[in-house]
Symmetry: D2
Subunit: 337 residues, 4 copies
């Protein structure tokens, strides 16, 4: 049985494993105050050419979303997201549990539209309603699409005009930035938003998300918020080490590029087999629409998520590739389609 269920089935890439072996018996200061974290921070900031930004390392995505948002908003403030946004659907109310409403708006291909932001703000004019104060987007989005530079710039512009902070969830940022058709750089992304994070968990790290805060307002006492939320890892150097491994020698981009290349092969195979897709995506998530019978057969040898019912005889499934996907796995999959 091979699995295309998700991009977090395996452990870490070799570069990281080697670093772990090398550092395992060294004594490191606790809570991310060590030299490894320092070096990982430097490497990340080099990428965005913004040495004054803050970088914090957290363990997972839901934790990161909750902390970034809760540290930004005052109690009655809310965050705007598309209906399919991860914080709106798949975090068990983590944002609400910190006291804040998620204002869900309709998106297009999983992306937020500037006019939807304007409408949401217009619809919340006074103290009888929550006060929109932040916009949350994901790149790649939850359904595998990506923002072009122009699209992100438009979202950014409306946020700045309306006094909203812009937060980019980058759990799959590597895949977005190395996708065919992408014209966005990490540096440009950093300029256009107030805070974003670089996902390690889904791109070759054991775990870890690196939050980059370019707007210093949002960094205020961030470590207090991390500690209170149980997100200040005792052996914080382990998190720094993940990103040291990813950002030395461009490993981060190479791994993501590999995942995309594997997905491209699958997309080509699906096209050849005449299997339609729910959405065109250039990243490591693919949503083919399979005949139910075919799906059943496939499921005997391949693990995947069923996404939604298409019609009475068809189902949308999700296939995900990763840094660890092998050519053999892809070949096997294609032979079954």
């Amino acid at each position: 049985m091979i699995s295309f269920k998700n991009d977090y089935s395996e452990g870490a890439c070799e570069a990281i494993l080697e670093l772990m072996q090398a550092e395992n018996r060294e004594q490191h200061p606790g809570y991310g105050t060590d030299a490894i974290c320092e070096e990982a921070r430097r490497l990340i900031l080099e990428q965005i050419d913004c040495p004054q930004a803050a970088v914090h390392f957290l363990v997972g995505g839901t934790q990161t979303n909750r902390i970034v948002i809760a540290n930004t908003l005052r109690p009655y403030e809310a965050v705007i997201a598309v209906e399919t946004g991860h914080i709106n659907t798949h975090e068990t109310g983590a944002i609400e549990s910190s006291g804040h409403k998620v204002i869900a708006v309709a998106g297009k291909d999983g992306k937020i539209l500037p006019e939807a932001i304007e409408q949401a703000v217009a619809a919340h004019p006074d103290e009888h309603m929550v006060k929109p104060a932040m916009v949350y987007i994901s790149n790649a989005t939850e359904i595998g699409t990506i923002y072009t530079e122009q699209e992100l710039a438009a979202v950014s512009a409306v946020c700045r005009k309306l006094g909203l902070k812009l937060f980019v969830d980058g759990a799959r940022l590597g895949s977005a930035l190395t996708a065919q058709g992408n014209d966005l750089t990490l540096k440009k992304l950093a300029e256009l938003c107030d805070v974003f994070y670089i996902g390690g968990t889904k791109n070759g790290a054991l775990f870890g998300e690196a939050v980059v805060i370019t707007n210093p307002e949002l960094d205020c006492n961030f470590r207090y918020m991390m500690k209170q939320s149980g997100a200040l890892l005792a052996k914080g150097w382990l998190l720094g080490l993940q990103f040291l491994g990813l950002f030395r020698s461009e490993t981060f981009f190479k791994l993501a590029g590999h995942a995309n290349a594997m997905a491209d092969q699958i997309r080509a195979g699906l096209k050849k087999a005449g299997i339609p897709l729910l959405t065109e995506t250039p990243t490591n998530q693919i949503f083919p629409i399979l005949e139910n019978k075919k799906m059943e057969v496939l499921s005997r040898e391949v693990a995947f998520e069923t996404w939604e019912k298409a019609d009475d005889t068809h189902t949308v499934i999700r296939l995900v590739t990763s840094w660890a996907t092998t050519q053999e796995q892809v070949d096997k999959l294609l032979s079954l389609l």
Copy 2:
């Protein structure tokens, strides 16, 4: 200038004012443990023929919604409501501030449909999503419509089937129960839900909402929750007194009936004047669609809320009558339409 802006412009009905004068210098035990509250509770429970239910008196609606919901749900549980539900739109995120997501579903005429409840539950199957545990509805709804007994029974049945608690916001319950076409009784309502409240603020009381909890699970330590939320009024007897005034001699129903009768006259006048309505409503809220020019003229002598833009030359406004609306006010309004 006369106002049809809302149903909480004036003070209290005569019956209540007289009681206040009579009791003002008496010494009452604090926090709702007094004889007046006891008698008011008895009168309410008599109405629903359910002596074992619990009754608590709170000051206002948002406070009540927040406390009832937060005392029912565990941290990761959510409440389902229609998109137009008061808790979803006009409470500044009070429910979210207590940690809980409001799952907003499309309604019909401001009312929830049983199938929407089923779909919402089906869409939240596991621990990556919030867990629906309660359904919140308002009767009358936020746009002035009412639930028939059959409609409420259908909602109740689906809630019981799915293990959801049913909560009825009765801020305008008086108006609903005395509306033309209503076939629901207070007793039947009480049977069909787990908890509801009887709105005093909008029906002749100075302030006050009487929460009636028929499902004893939901009453667990309710007074702790009230106190923690700053909702255990020191002079709690004042709240009991409001409901004593309302439920002696059927005053509650008479006042609501008066408000509806005034609204009926306005509805008839609008019809005669050929002015269309946004929705047919039998209660004390009316939503006429006015030509903008007419609206402007009207606004010089009458205060009202503008509800939404209808088209480029028309606007929906909201007119609200109350227990205190006079025939003179209605005549004046009609003369201007």
Copy 3:
């Protein structure tokens, strides 16, 4: 049976009742945006000679404490209070329910000492601990003592030095400011703190606390916080009216002075009867230490709170006078001691 249990047994003073009668049938804008509130605000600001301060009217003390503190603190910040502070003992965790720790420090006669504040701050140096950001005191304190101007100035100075906001709970502020030995004025109090409130509930109003915010930072979106907490009263003019009644013709001070005068008589009577006190207090709360046998006899004709066990044969009780306490009640009490 007469009661000295508390200062919130009765309704409202005559001035307020008359205003309520007069305004009952008028149509007022909702939520505290009316002319009565405006006038009440003006009268209060006149007292403190600080026209730019903000005044908000809330219903009760716990509600007020929770909202003021939660609107000031960021999520990981904490408020310092004496162990006997109301927020630490008698609000069912209202402050914690808004996410904030109360750092309890030992007090002296119910009052906080500047050095205790300094120690509390020194004990919380980094992100592994909460961050002290506010000091909460009550005047009169929970055990009936008062702050002199010098004492309050010293507390204020240490707060300003350490960057802490100072909040004064004035649920019994009237009694404090009219007590024998008091040298503090409302104006001076306002200068020395960032926010305080003037208690109406315990001094002649039906209900109501007037929050005065002299530090504009703390007023940021305060009405959002009120609405979210269920504390924006629909008929907000009722609250304004309470303070209009209290601050026209110095009624507020006269009522509090009466309560103190009644308490002074009781203190004198206790002294004469050789009954010792737990603490010397100049306000409307008295804590005599009674022989258990005497306490039992007294309890047959007078209601009071038992405070704590003094020794095997003695108990501390609490006697409270109010604006409504009559000479007859005091005479009766004294005759029984």
Copy 4:
């Protein structure tokens, strides 16, 4: 420079590193639903001979404390802990951030006394105060002492009598259970409390705490709470793997025993050098009282925490050994004392 600052400076023990290498490229189901977690659970439950208990793997201690407590308490309920308890001092208000008060009581040698629990409950009799519902203790305690079976049984008995849940923080449980003088077994501990956790982070794991819930009430929807708190690790198998490594071949106890043995040598050395201790501790934390001059000299070659000022010329420091402490490090330290 060698460090005795804490027990989380190094990575993982060999057994765990080997498992990580072996499993790194395997595809595992996400979120702790994999076979490795299953096997780790089985090994732990074998230890306590309680196959029906639930085991969940979390990343760190603060996270675990917050989730266990918040999943147990209703909104107005509180947890009792000693003043030195980790949740009361060093978690940045994590418990309060979930809405709950920590009732801090004086302890004895870092341990809670049954009578202190009884007093705390007696002091919180009604709805004006929080409702004590849980007792939190640590074993080993925050100052290195341990509970004997008799002591724990007495605490457990009073909890059961009063209807309080008992929660044991076992961040340093390995050290406690292998300390000289310990007579408590893991099995007995499990019987005496409702929930506890086994600390991996400080005893040879990369990270990880294994929560064991013997009272099924406390396990209700625990995974929802984990996910909402950002504590459901995507690669959950990594956590299972830590405990697989620790509980195969008794590694957990051997590592802890080693840390204690190293500490015993240091204790002996201190005694020989005539250096007094703050408290007698049998675990891996030692609190010597050093002359300031000696402390300064020591600090040039050894890293440690300063604990508190003893007097004008002496300071208490904290020395911590771990599974990774070497004989060379101990010898070096002893040579400097």
